[in-house]
Each structure stands twice: as C-alpha cells, then as structure tokens.
C-alpha cells in the first residue's frame, strides 16, 4: 500500500502539470473571445516534441546536454515532497528509510529551485547565442530578487506553524485558530508576487511570446529542441503546479487530508485542492489578460514589495 502511495506521490505532479498550463491558456483564450485549444493541448505538444529529432549546436558542452535532465529531475523531487491532497510523508514498504521527507523542508525546496534556475541560466549561455545570454542575465536578476520574497513569505508560515517541513506545516496550521492565520494573508500576497516572477508569468515575463524585448524564460530555452525542449517545457509546467500547490495548501490549509486511510476524506480533500488550484490558476489567467507587462526596471520595485510584505507578515506572526 505504501509503495503505491509512494508512486502516486511521485507521479501526480508531472501527470497534472500540463493540464494547469492548458487551463490557463484556455481561460486566456476565452477572455480574448477565442475558442482556444483544448486544455489537453500541452500533453499533445509534449508528445509531439518527444517524437522529434534534436539539433544540438556543435559548440554545446555537457552542461547543455545534461541540464534538461537535471532540471526535470529536480521538479519531480520537489513535486514528490510537497503535500498534494494529503499531508502525510510516504515511504517504500521494503525500504522505509527512503522517503522524500528531508526534501520537504522549505529551505531545501527554495534552494533546489535556485539550483534549477542556475542550470537553466548556464544552459542558456552555453551555446553562446545572444538570446540565451540576455535571457540568462535577466533570469538571474529576477531570481535573485524574487528569492527574498519567497523565503520570507514561507518563513512567516513556518514560524506560525512551528515547523520547517511543508508537510508538517500543513498539518500544524490546521490545528491553529483562524486568527493566527490572518498574518498569512499578507505573506500570501508576497508569495503570489514571487510565484509570478519565478514562473515567468505576467507582469514579469510574457510566457506566450518570442519577442526579444520581453522574453526571459523563452530566451534561455531557445536553443533546445526535441526531447530536451519537451523536458524543459514539462519542468516549467511542474514548477508552476508546485508553486500553486504550495500556495493553496500552505496559506489555505483547510481540507487537506491528514491521513491516507479514509476514502471519503481523500475525496473531499481532492475536490477542495482542485477547486482552490483552479481559482488560483484562473486568477493568474485573469491577471495576464487584464494587465500589461512591466518594464524590466520596474520589476525590482514589485519584487521588493514582495520582500517587504514577507518581512511584515513575519513581524506580525512572531509577535502575535
């Protein structure tokens, strides 16, 4: 039984992440009075990319060839160590010590994402194309500034929940009175800004364009093709879903099941998590349809807002 749960935990994020992207694209298309592609289109795109041949520049080093696998693996690892529908650490039956629990510490998660960004930026620069270079330099600027907001918003949650592990945080938060969770509203605002910046979404980056003035994430993966591009795209989708799940499960922890035993409990928790995630995804799509992208030099203001909101939330939740 535990082994099954282990495999479920491992596969659930990569299995559902393209659906999240498809949902955002569908909502955006609807808001622009288009019918839009089906929500399953990202799956077909990935399938098509996996069938295609690859072209790799002869100047590319091992970093270019190796980083898609590393980046994808990191998202799988983090996806397996965060609570999805139940906040329970799972381990293999025959190897109980092998668990994803240590990777569920919020600092580990943040720095695994930093490692991912690091290799993404390196592989962008590796082939020596001009696009990759500016994409990487912009990405490192955004990542360095977004990290503070991400860290402090999660730190506020961690202090409130008196635990550093995201799985334990969700469990502990459910036992706190409602009043103790209010400061987390401010932390949630900080986290959302960091989410948009980390996932190359509006108003920091435009995920739907290859215009050289605006692209950040797309510029870095411009040289990739075929299977490696598929892995990169899939990893980006995983990252978005992981951030969404962290946002809904940490800041609105009600309904997340605390055991795998009761079927009805799991059903309710699945419905709630899907509902909350859909609301958040809709919010992102709404934001992307209604606001313009910021100039790159206004992005630091936004990310600093995220940082200060995170520290204010921390100050309020410490003294509370």
């Amino acid at each position: 039984m535990n082994t099954l749960l282990f495999i479920f935990q491992l596969l659930i994020v990569p299995a559902l992440s393209p659906l999240g992207i498809g949902f955002i694209r569908k909502v955006k298309a609807r808001m622009q009075n288009r019918v839009g592609a089906s929500v399953f289109q990202p799956y077909r795109d990935l399938w098509k990319l996996f069938q295609k041949d690859e072209v790799i520049s002869e100047d590319a080093s091992w970093i270019f060839r190796f980083s898609p696998y590393l980046i994808f693996a990191i998202t799988i690892l983090i996806g397996a160590s965060i609570p999805v529908i139940a906040a329970v650490p799972v381990a293999l039956d025959f190897l109980p010590s092998f668990s994803f629990l240590p990777a569920g510490d919020f600092l580990v998660i943040i720095y695994l994402f930093a490692l991912m960004t690091f290799f993404l930026a390196l592989s962008g620069m590796d082939t020596g194309s001009a696009f990759g270079g500016f994409g990487s330099s912009r990405e490192m600027m955004v990542a360095a500034l977004a990290e503070a907001g991400l860290l402090f918003s999660l730190l506020a949650v961690s202090v409130t929940a008196e635990s550093g592990n995201v799985v334990a945080m969700v469990g502990n938060l459910q036992y706190l009175p409602l009043q103790a969770l209010f400061p987390l509203l401010i932390a949630f605002l900080a986290f959302i800004i960091a989410l948009l910046a980390e996932n190359a979404r509006f108003p920091v980056d435009n995920p739907a364009t290859h215009l050289e003035l605006t692209m950040i994430h797309e510029a870095m993966i411009l040289e990739h093709s075929g299977k490696r591009l598929a892995l990169m795209e899939w990893a980006a989708a995983n990252k978005l879903l992981i951030f969404i799940l962290l946002a809904v499960n940490l800041f609105f922890p009600w309904g997340v099941s605390l055991s795998y035993d009761s079927f009805s409990g799991l059903l309710v928790s699945t419905l709630l998590v899907v509902g909350k995630s859909a609301i958040l995804l809709f919010g992102i799509a709404f934001l992307e349809s209604t606001m313009a992208k910021f100039r790159i030099f206004r992005v630091p203001d936004l990310l600093l807002t995220s940082f200060v909101l995170g520290v204010i939330a921390l100050a309020i939740s410490i003294t509370f």
Partner: protein
C-alpha cells in the same frame, strides 16, 4: 462575547492595514480612493459589529453614519472631483518605491517593538490589533509626508483619522454619541474646506502637485 468575535475584528483591522500599505504603492489617484473606500468600509463594519456584539445602540448608529459618510459619500465626492480636474493619474512619492517600502517596514517593526508594550495594559486581549492599529497610524502619517499630490495628502489625513478610530475602538476609548457624531460632522466640513482649497490651487497652478507651489505666480 467579545472574544468570539475577536477573530473577525482582527481580520477587519488587517484589511485596513493592507489598504494603508496599498495607498503607498498605487500610482493612480483612482486606486487611492478605492483603497480609502476599503479602509473606511472595514472601520464602519467594525464599529457596527462592535455595537451589535455589545448591544450598544450608539455604536450602531455611529457605524452606520461612518459607512454612509466615509465609504459612500466621500469616495463618490472625490471621484467626481478627480474627474473635474482630470487628475486621475497624478500620484507620486518623494521617495522611490524601494525606499518607501523600507520605511514602511521600519514603521511596522517600530510599532511592534517593546516601546508600545505599556499600551497592552489597556486591552491585553487585543495586543496584536493594537500594534497593527499603531502601525496603520504611523503609515498614514508617512503617507502625508511622502506624497507629492495635494489630493493624496488629503486622503492621507482621512486615512490617519480612520486608523485612529480603529486604534481607539480596540483600546476601548468610546466617546459619548454626541461627540462621535460631532467628529464625523467635523470630517465632512473638513472635506469640503480641503476641496475648496484644492480647487483654488488647481485654478492657480493647473496642477495638484504641491512641489509646484514654490514658484509664485501672478496673473
């Protein structure tokens, strides 16, 4: 009885607090009015619900009056004023956004520091709300200092007044109804006078930016 609703009151306090932070960050006067509406709404609802919980008719009436004057009449009045001067966009800070945020952070930390711990004696069960209210008061004062536009400064004073009402209601300093109604009446008069001044200023200088007032004009 009061303890059961403490969560709800703290939530309203938090909304007002977030509204004041937002007033420092938004770029357009229209959004400042929206945030002022949000803050007034939470203050009015707070007074009204405290009145309900404690069964005091005077607080109920003051809550209703606050809701009507501050969150309905005043925002509509301001929105019309802005449309007349077509000044929807002129909201600037003296400090840059990062510095503004840094000052806000310091103000919040200051109001949560031990300096104001003695105030906790007044209402030990609502210490968090008092600190939050103090932070709102300081941030509203800073809004007055930091904004360039006369209109934003006017909203700053009103936000300060809202924050003080909020703080006073958490500490438990309710006044007799005559005095409270008098204060609200004062605010109405104050809005009218400030509007008159702003209109005169706009007619003379064709701008609501107070830093332009240093250049004298004769015509």
């Amino acid at each position: 009885m009061f303890e059961h609703f403490a969560q709800f009151f703290f939530f309203l306090d938090l909304i007002a607090f977030i509204a004041v932070i937002g007033m420092h960050l938004v770029k357009s006067n229209t959004n400042i009015i929206r945030l002022y509406f949000l803050q007034s709404l939470s203050v009015g609802v707070l007074l009204f619900s405290v009145g309900l919980v404690e069964g005091e008719h005077s607080l109920l009436w003051i809550g209703v009056l606050t809701l009507v004057i501050k969150s309905i009449v005043a925002p509509i009045f301001f929105a019309r004023l802005l449309r007349r001067f077509s000044a929807q966009q002129s909201a600037n800070n003296y400090l840059s956004v990062p510095l503004t945020l840094f000052v806000l952070l310091l103000l919040v930390l200051f109001s949560y520091s031990n300096t104001f711990l003695p105030l906790g004696v007044l209402a030990p069960e609502a210490l968090g709300s008092i600190s939050l209210g103090l932070a709102s008061v300081f941030m509203a004062i800073f809004l007055l200092i930091n904004r360039r536009g006369a209109f934003s400064q006017m909203i700053g004073i009103l936000a300060l007044e809202n924050a003080i009402v909020l703080l006073a209601s958490f500490i438990g300093l309710e006044q007799p109804i005559a005095l409270e109604v008098g204060i609200i009446f004062d605010i109405v008069i104050w809005i009218v006078i400030a509007t008159a001044f702003i209109s005169m200023m706009y007619r003379q200088f064709k701008s609501l930016d107070v830093s332009r007032l240093t250049h004298l004009r004769e015509d």
